[in-house]
């Protein structure tokens, strides 16, 4: 799932390690989510949204919905 976490993080000048600390996850987790290799669970997605003061939909791009709309 595509997302804008890297952009939001760099906007705030945070490193991956710093974001990982704030979310209570490993730096590898942040990297995997940012690169779209791993889709976070709903509770983690909510934590990310809360931290960046955005809604989940603003951060994560629901490709399934786009595909359905295209069909």
């Amino acid at each position: 799932m595509k997302n804008i976490i890297r952009a939001l993080r760099t906007e705030r000048g945070w490193s991956q390690a710093s974001l990982a600390d704030q979310l209570g996850v490993s730096r590898q987790s942040v990297n995997a989510i940012e690169t779209g290799k791993y889709d976070p669970s709903l509770p983690l997605a909510f934590s990310i949204a809360r931290l960046f003061e955005r809604s989940i939909e603003e951060i994560f791009d629901d490709e399934t919905e786009a595909k359905l709309a295209a069909e």
Binding site: D21, G24, S26, Q28, Y38, S41
Partner: protein
């Protein structure tokens, strides 16, 4: 088990893992030295040392499992996939060697080596899944 942050789960893991490894090393070294000094080696001591060596290894497996259950969701996925792959690879090798023995292709194979093989398979699997980084 309660959900913790990645860092506290890692701390809890290291706090138990390294002492267990220390105890294991001491038992193996002191045990083999003591047995070498005795002739004949008493059977009760051999049995006690065998059990004493196995206990920290079993403890390590349980600590690895506890870490997998307590850590963050991505690391948990990597750890549990590592356990699964290591289990599949180890059991596959057990079957292969077992059939080779049944059909008299090879002589008896020490069952002990499947233990270290599992740990190696687990380590390699988790490293591959995590792009060469430790999780």
């Amino acid at each position: 088990m309660t959900q913790q942050t990645f860092k506290s789960a890692k701390r809890r893991y290291h706090r138990v893992f390294w002492p267990l490894m220390g105890v294991y090393s001491v038992i193996v070294l002191a045990g083999s030295y003591t047995l070498n000094q005795m002739d004949p080696e008493p059977e009760w001591l051999q049995a006690s040392l065998a059990v004493a060596c196995a206990v920290p290894v079993i403890g390590t497996l349980l600590v690895m499992l506890r870490y997998a259950l307590e850590t963050d969701e991505y690391s948990r996925m990597i750890q549990l996939k590592g356990f699964a792959w290591a289990g599949v690879i180890t059991v596959s090798i057990i079957f292969l060697i077992g059939f080779l023995q049944l059909f008299h292709v090879i002589e008896n194979f020490e069952i002990f080596w499947f233990g270290p093989f599992f740990f190696i398979a687990f380590g390699i699997s988790t490293l591959i899944m995590n792009g060469g980084r430790q999780c």
